[in-house]
Amino acid sequence: MSPVSTRSPVRTASAVSTRSAVSPAAPAPGRTTLLRRLAPAVLVVAALLTLWQAAVTLTGVRPQVLPSPLRVLEQGWAFRGALWDNALPTIQVTAIGFAVSLTVAWAIAIAVDFSPWLRRALTPLLVASQTLPVMAIAPLLIIWFGFGLLPKVLVIALVTFFPVAVGLIEGFAATDRSATALLRSMGASRLQQFRYVRLPGALPSFFTALRVAITYAVTGAIFAEYVGARAGLGIFMQLQKNQFRTDLVLAAVAVTAVLSIALFGLTYAVQRLVTPWYRGDHR
């Protein structure tokens, strides 16, 4: 009986040598793993793009209606300067807006966690705030705050704070009751209970919410540009759309997507840093 390496834990009589099912067997960690992790996404995206290209070529649909991915790529590349110039302000406003959004979400969630009265008072307002169409409040924002950074930051915050706030509020509320009880038995103040149990207990829930919210951040910034902006991916999209340059609109959409995916990926890295004890089994 010579030892055989298998991935399944000891379930067979033949000699087994198995390594954690958690961290997938990796011959050489670094680059190879990354490549193997990215492969499925790359494959599927490639397949979809090919399908799309084929569909456009076969149906001969007008590029104003649906340009082929190759055309989007080509034109996007030709206009890379303009795309970059417009991406920068969007990235800037996204960063500031999302920072504000996180601050607001944490502040609200903590306040609500400490006061059931506030919880009941604010919850309907928070929900209602998500129903405000930006179009309806844009004039107010402009009249009050002009065309500077502020109204855009407000729009992004408005669009993205809610998932984080809800995730945190429910995360706090869902923490293990007996753990809180233990702390209370130690005479822990409400603040200490929060710090030692509710806060760390809510972090996984926070990161889930963060992933949802961060996805909306860039889109929110583009949306915010409707309130008034001189440059930005949203402005670029509108300019191109009004000139029937669907290909360039989609190029800008692609840039947005790449930005969002990068931010989304970033949350995993941050999570690993902040909650080293927590391992969802992302098998």
């Binding site: 834990p9 000699a15 198995t18 954690s20 099912a21 958690v22």
Partner: protein, 247 residues
């Protein structure tokens, strides 16, 4: 041999927990495992049940059941932490093993229900696990395991949270039904008297990394009754076990 283990080694990263452990259990036998806290007893059960890898262990070695590779799920594991599911009632927790094996819910419930009385859990069928006391949780977990109908039971401290009386009652219950169902049983316990009272053989493990340091056969007639508790042979085994552990 019902179960045959050879050269089983388990490590968590740099921490070697089991190093080349071998053991045999005959069909219908009850073998107890005693050893210092943290030596690797629960880890051994995890490796047998095929789930040690789940929390990051590296496992090597051979496990055979009935002389061949492990097929299906012959092991019924009662984990040390009871692992009752908060989203199921106590009754539905106890039917889990049966449901997984494909028994109909109704049939499973009937079979589990029958044990609630002898397990002192009558009236708590529809309670949630969070509403049970520590000892009641443990009994529910044991109930879930024995009702699951597996050939080999792996019981990890099944009576650890029970008071003397309840404990004796449960031990006697186990002794009385073990034979009837032909269970092959591996039992982790820290109570040498319990080990001596219930077992055909007791394996004493060394501190981590664990190997079988000593194997002690208990030559007492079966089925064992309360009378055995005063048998000097039992006391002798007990003393021998303690001595081995102290060594």
């Amino acid at each position: 041999m019902k179960v045959r283990v050879r050269d089983l080694a388990v490590s968590y990263g740099d921490l070697d927990v089991l190093s080349g452990m071998s053991l045999d259990v005959a069909a219908g036998e009850l073998v107890s495992i005693v050893g210092p806290s943290g030596c690797g007893k629960s880890t051994l059960f995890g490796a047998l049940a095929g789930i040690a890898g789940e929390d990051g262990a590296t496992v090597t070695g051979t496990v055979e059941v009935d002389g061949g590779p492990v097929r299906g799920a012959p092991f019924g594991l009662m984990p040390q932490q009871d692992l009752l599911f908060p989203w199921r009632t106590v009754l539905d927790n106890t039917t889990l093993g049966l449901e997984v094996a494909g028994t109909s819910r109704r049939e499973a419930r009937a079979r589990a229900q029958a044990l609630f009385e002898p397990f002192g859990l009558a009236g708590f069928e529809q309670a949630r696990p969070g509403e049970l006391s520590g000892g009641m949780r443990q009994r529910a977990a044991l109930l879930r395991t024995v009702v699951g109908g597996r050939e080999v039971l792996l019981l990890d401290e099944p009576f650890g949270a029970l008071d003397a009386l309840t404990r004796t009652a449960m031990q006697e219950w186990l002794e009385s039904v073990r034979d009837r169902y032909g269970w092959t049983t591996l039992l982790i316990t820290h109570d040498v008297r319990e080990a001596a009272f219930l077992s055909d053989r007791v394996l004493v493990l060394s501190p981590r990394p664990a190997t079988v340091r000593r194997e002690i056969a208990v030559d007492l007639p079966r089925p064992r009754t309360r009378a055995v508790l005063t048998d000097p042979r039992l006391a002798a085994v007990e003393a021998e076990l303690l001595d081995t552990l102290r060594a």
